[in-house]
Symmetry: C2
Subunit: 380 residues, 2 copies
């Protein structure tokens, strides 16, 4: 059966990206590769909305999260971590592994963090050197208020804000320079429409000053060494060449569509899913849902793991279940990157069928027609 990815990473990779990666490899010191690298560096600045260098690493997104930590901080530093899901917890785990003092600010899973809580924590603990947050918390589908947090952190000379934009960048408006994001981290396998294996990190001038004083150990993820090499359109260590070639193609697609159009498309797709969910009598998990994925609370009696299995077995649709205490209680449908309205119609219609098949009283067509109306009104 044809598999259709609605998982929040990996996401579907466009055919032209897949084919570009199947071309014979060239050498990473070849001028032809340097030309590719120059182009992707420019394209990444466009997507990050920054004048800073966006560094490319051969790792999955967690590697770039670790790079953000070990390059800007010192042993014993205090850091404020917004924890409202599995990836907030990952920030804390990385920091603890490197001997940092973690000050957690917790949100209920499914709720966006209240910026006031962060502000109070910062005021209570002047030693905090960094605030870490997800733009989109993948485990809950929540969009955290990054802009408001940036406004709070900007006032503090000795504190930076580090944003995990892995499940958001390229689908959600995150203007790094304009908002004052100090470190922004991304991965290849989300809205950037690539297989996993590349990650990205960009630093503000303020964050580069933190790099100068950072004493945490690093070698593979040494961003100063990478910056020196990448400014020459090379990498410090051997790059994941085929993925970088694929990235060029994906970034060309992004430029062709235009960032603003992409943001609007994601909002539209998300609204269609959200309306369908409501029309089916279900609720969203997130109080501030991300345009990149929708987490749906399941009615009692409907097991999320079974629903996920049925969608895969009968329709080839790969959605995600819940993690940790949400296992079985939600499903997550991603719509970031290479997605169009027809994908949404497909997943909503299948979801409706399977919910009904599992005994949930839903009239076939209720959810689909709600999604259809969103597209009709958008006058596609």
């Amino acid at each position: 059966m044809k598999k259709r990815l609605f998982s929040p990473g990996p996401t579907p990779v466009p055919e032209r990206v897949l084919l570009s990666m199947a071309e014979p490899l060239f050498h990473h010191r070849d001028p032809a590769f340097e030309e590719v690298f120059r182009e992707v560096r420019e394209g990444l600045k466009y997507v990050f909305q920054t004048e800073q260098d966006v560094l490319i690493l051969a790792s999955s997104g967690t590697g770039a999260m670790e790079a953000a930590v070990v390059n800007t901080l010192c042993e014993g530093d205090a850091v404020l971590v917004v924890r409202g899901g599995k990836f907030g917890e990952r920030w804390a785990e990385i920091c603890e592994a490197y001997g940092l003092r973690v000050v957690p600010v917790d949100a209920v899973w499914g709720e966006a963090i209240d910026p006031i809580l962060v502000q109070r924590s910062l005021e209570a603990d002047p030693e905090i050197r960094a605030v870490m947050v997800q733009a989109c918390e993948t485990s809950t589908g929540v969009l955290h208020p990054v802009k408001e947090l940036c406004d709070i952190v900007r006032e503090r000379e000795d504190t930076i804000i580090i944003v995990d934009a892995i499940s958001a960048l390229g689908a959600v408006d995150l203007p790094m320079d304009r908002w004052g994001i100090d470190v922004m981290v991304a991965g290849s396998q989300k809205a950037l429409m690539l297989p996993p294996g590349l990650s990205f990190v960009a630093l503000s001038e303020k964050a580069w000053r933190f790099v100068k004083r950072s004493t945490l150990p690093k070698y593979y993820f040494d961003l100063e060494a990478e910056l020196r090499s990448q400014r020459k359109n090379q990498t410090h260590f051997t790059p994941a060449i085929s993925l970088v070639v694929g990235l060029r193609e994906a970034l060309r697609m992004i430029k062709e569509e235009g960032l603003q159009n992409i943001f609007e498309r994601h909002k539209l797709l998300a609204r269609a899913v959200q309306e369908a969910v409501r029309a089916m009598g279900l609720e969203l998990l997130a109080d501030s849902p991300s345009p990149t994925l929708t987490a749906i609370k399941l009615p009692s009696g409907i097991d999320g793991q079974e629903l996920k299995r049925r969608l895969e077995d009968r329709y080839g649709l790969i959605v995600a279940g819940g993690q940790e205490h949400l296992k079985g209680r939600i499903i997550r449908i991603a719509h970031m990157g290479y997605f169009e309205p027809s994908d949404i119609l497909q997943v909503v219609a299948a979801l409706e069928l399977e919910l009904k098949g599992m005994g949930y009283p839903v009239e076939l067509g209720r959810g689909v027609s709600a999604a259809q109306k969103v597209f009709e009104e958008a006058d596609l």
Copy 2:
């Protein structure tokens, strides 16, 4: 012009491997991916010649080198590093970045380390916890005496041997278990015939005991966490899915040919290049040349950088120059992975032409015929 890679990484990727990576992605928690993962885990054990788990990381080879260090050692530990080229120096740099005390044992670039020197150093400094060496030092084409070093280290309960097999594994016989290699590191873009972006590391039981006491910080490269996940045919973080799919195809090719046949093929290819070099009146840099690449000393008056450029411009052949103080003075021709006798005939013939074109007095056909004779005698 068609580019032909004779560089020691990246190396040519077989068409069937490239095409396998162009297939639509599946999800890394999908049973179909777990089946791929199970198969590559078995295949890697075959190539590593080990019963231990071979862990797969999303990084280039240096990441796995760092993983080997940070998972087995403690801050302040003394380590013996065999330095006879750029990659020996890399071991030292990684160790220094993590606050280890590096005891260098130096070889002249181009010479294999004398095991006696290592033995004496170990005897003089009983605090040494690890010996680090390259199987093949890529910057010089030297094969270090790994077996002899293993025999020395085996006697010491509190010392392990860590071998960088990046430019050797899958082309040179390195029976991890039989020789007693404690940690072996490899990368995807060498004899494993893949693009860069994956690295591999396997640990002996003795090395896993070192992991228990290791206190160096790690998160992305935490091998215990990886072991737990990979034994379930998953990875701790999102794997580089498309490269893992390519790896399956490459490992199938390796199994089809058979490791022993592959070792013999590499010896034959190397002998043909070596004979050609001698017939042209040139010398090898390495006193113990690796079957994976051949470093050739250039006569005075022949600039290696120009030779490299001419080979690329006129024949599309990508060879490597010298690094550091050898820049311009040698060229390195790799023949690891997807190489056959016809590739050798091609590169030797072009080399002869360009050396003559640059004023070196060589009779056309001298080198080629020496290589031809090697193949003739092998009765292909």
